[in-house]
């Protein structure tokens, strides 16, 4: 029963990582950059939901939509201000800027909301589900997280393959120059990618804090890094890869903490990243890239 409980928690945590990983993988595929600030957008989303629910007493759906709106605007603004001017710069420069942006978000949040952890309110009036004569209890948050993941995955896959914008995104990520020559508005496509990623980040923030109710300015940082690990694990640039990587990583983390050591939980997750990148740098579902001389 403990095993099943861990399994469910692992899939749930993994779902959160998967949703966050989607943002990383889409942005990396299109803009070829590691958006370090992505994890902190999650944190902002969570804070917005918190404020909306706690201080303004808005209904749950509105809280989430508001967070999604704020994060979308935030994501697009960050891209326009900090990343777009550096499109021709070295990846080192972009990475450093992204790190700076991450710190900017964290410290602004610190100033606005303070360092004291906030307790995230439970937005669901549902009861814990009990299975197997009460031996396995599943919290509603867990189920909702897993469901949300599946819905988002399906929606996103359909979007990418069926819609015009989705196709544009695939073109730009494959060959930006050619896409531009074909009349695709590259700037708009990149903005849309950031927008979607940030909106998903808001949802992830909400789900993360529903399951793990402590909210601080640094809350988004570690899940962000782990989600990037998941994105790489699954194959950067691949949407199903993000899902697979995320869920697998969540399972590895939960089982690692349960069966090996709680203190070394994070270390185990990072060790997985290192091993994956060494053995199969393109990840589980990624494609190798050839350099032209």
């Amino acid at each position: 029963m403990v095993f099943l409980s861990n399994l469910v928690n692992g899939i749930s945590l993994g779902s959160i990582y998967a949703i966050i990983a989607l943002g990383y993988t889409m942005v990396y595929g299109i803009a070829k950059m590691l958006n370090f600030a992505h994890g902190d957008v999650i944190m902002v989303g969570a804070y917005i939901v918190f404020c909306a629910a706690q201080y303004w007493n808005l209904p749950p759906a509105v809280c989430i939509l508001l967070a999604m709106l704020v994060c979308t605007v935030l994501g697009i603004t960050i891209e326009k201000l900090a990343y777009k001017p550096l499109r021709q710069a070295t990846s080192l420069a972009v990475l450093i800027t992204a790190i700076g942006m991450s710190y900017l978000l964290q410290n602004t949040a610190l100033l606005i909301w303070g360092a004291n952890p906030k307790v995230f309110p439970s937005l669901f009036a549902l009861d814990t589900i009990r299975l197997f004569d009460g031996q396995l209890s599943i919290k509603p948050e867990t189920l909702i997280t897993i469901t949300a993941n599946i819905v988002i995955m399906t929606a996103l896959t359909l979007f990418i393959s069926k819609t015009k914008t989705g196709k544009a995104m695939r073109c730009v990520s494959e060959d930006r120059g050619a896409a531009e020559l074909m009349g695709i508005n590259v700037n708009r496509t990149i903005s849309v990618t950031f927008a979607i990623g940030s909106a998903l980040a808001a949802i992830a923030g909400f789900l993360l804090c529903s399951s793990y109710p402590m909210l601080m300015p640094t809350t988004g940082s570690m899940p962000g890094i782990k989600a990037f690990t998941a994105a790489v694990f699954g194959g950067i640039g691949s949407i199903p890869g993000a899902m697979l990587g995320g869920v697998l990583l969540g399972l590895i983390e939960i089982f690692g903490k349960a069966y090996i050591s709680t203190e070394l939980g994070d270390a185990i997750v990072f060790a997985v990243l290192i091993i994956v990148l060494l053995v199969r740098p393109t990840g589980l579902l990624g494609k190798p890239v050839r350099e032209k001389v």
Binding site: Y28, L86, T97, L104, E263, F270, L273, I274, V293
Partner: protein
């Protein structure tokens, strides 16, 4: 590009100013005309300068972003503390200078070995992936150090992992880190370490190996076709930097009575990165200035404490945006009138 003469002048000035500062500060310490806060910061400043200079070797000269540099500092710090405690308790080595020297050497060597072990897998990767893996290793190191217990019992060193039941005097107490450390670090030692790391780094850069490292950074394929083994030279920079970071860590660790493993985390790695970026990526003297300034300034501006990290973040972004703006780059070139651009064109036409 700098001519040989201007490079030599810069080096001479750097060494000269540092020696001068050391002399002045030592006089001030002896005259007791130095503020207590500044006095307490002198050794940390030396450590951070060495950290910044060594990270600049990796980021600026070798062109790879390392986000786990604080991990090497941590390894050096705890190695230094262990060695110092062991020598004192096990071998009754009372002489603090000798203990400090051995501790710093040990810190450097162990950190260097770690750098080599980490470098082998890491330096095969490129760009973003390399950065993330260094971050991962940094976190693993911190996590692991949190679980390590070390005690000295007579002449034997006892180790425990996740288990603190050890005989003898505890030197390292898992998550509580090091306690009751004999603070044997001195400003003189710090100054010598700074000079040592400068000599190592500057001499390395201005040598055949340094040129190879920079060639590997600037144009990997061209460098390879000139017969330069890219991994070897990236390793050279990485391991040298980790040795220096370990030494800086040992100095730092032996200046603190207590030291937590969590002190050497991603945040510290980013701090050092900020020193490097603001001092100029690839600019070694710049790292010295920024490391010193950014260690002193927060104390002076205590009232702005809450805004400090925010200001760092904004500064970091602004510096990156400005230094990569083509118009700014052209302006800088015009102001400093690089000899290359206009005059060589005239020569070619004539």
């Amino acid at each position: 590009m700098k001519t040989k003469k201007s490079r030599l002048i810069t080096q001479a000035v750097t060494y000269g100013v540092l020696i001068l500062l050391f002399v002045i500060l030592t006089i001030m310490i002896n005259n007791k005309s130095i503020s207590r806060t500044l006095k307490g910061q002198l050794i940390p400043i030396c450590s951070w300068i060495v950290m910044a200079v060594s990270l600049n070797l990796v980021v600026g000269i070798s062109g790879e972003l390392s986000l786990g540099h604080a991990g090497f500092m941590g390894i050096g710090a705890f190695t230094g503390i262990i060695v110092s405690g062991w020598l004192l308790n096990g071998f009754q080595m009372e002489d603090p200078t000798l203990r400090l020297l051995l501790a710093i050497l040990a810190g450097g060597i162990i950190a260097g070995i770690a750098g080599m072990l980490i470098g082998i897998p890491v330096l095969r990767l490129r760009g973003d992936y390399l950065a993330i893996v260094t971050l991962a290793f940094g976190e693993i190191i911190k996590n692991v150090m949190n679980c390590v217990y070390v005690s000295v019992d007579g002449q034997t060193l006892n180790w425990g992992f996740l288990d603190g039941n050890l005989p003898g005097t505890l030197l390292l107490n898992g998550p509580m880190g090091a306690v009751k450390v004999k603070t044997i670090a001195t400003f003189t030692a710090g100054f010598i370490l700074v000079m040592f790391s400068l000599i190592v780094v500057l001499n390395l850069i201005n040598s055949r190996s340094g040129r190879a490292i920079m060639a590997a950074r600037d144009n990997r394929i061209a460098a390879e076709s000139m017969g330069i083994n890219i991994t070897k030279y990236k390793m050279m920079a990485f391991v040298t930097a980790s040795v220096l970071a370990g030494m800086a860590g040992a100095l730092y660790g032996l200046s603190m009575a207590t030291l937590l493993p969590t002190k050497f985390s991603f945040n510290e790695s980013i701090n050092v990165l900020v020193f490097v970026v603001l001092g100029g990526i690839g600019n070694i003297p710049g790292s010295i200035v920024s490391a010193a300034a950014l260690t002193i300034l927060p104390e002076k501006l205590r009232f702005l404490q809450n805004y400090r990290m925010l200001a760092y973040a904004i500064l970091l972004i602004l510096v990156m945006l400005l230094s990569n703006n083509p118009m700014v780059k052209m302006l800088v070139r015009k102001i400093f009138h690089r000899r290359g651009d206009d005059e060589s064109r005239e020569e070619m036409r004539a």
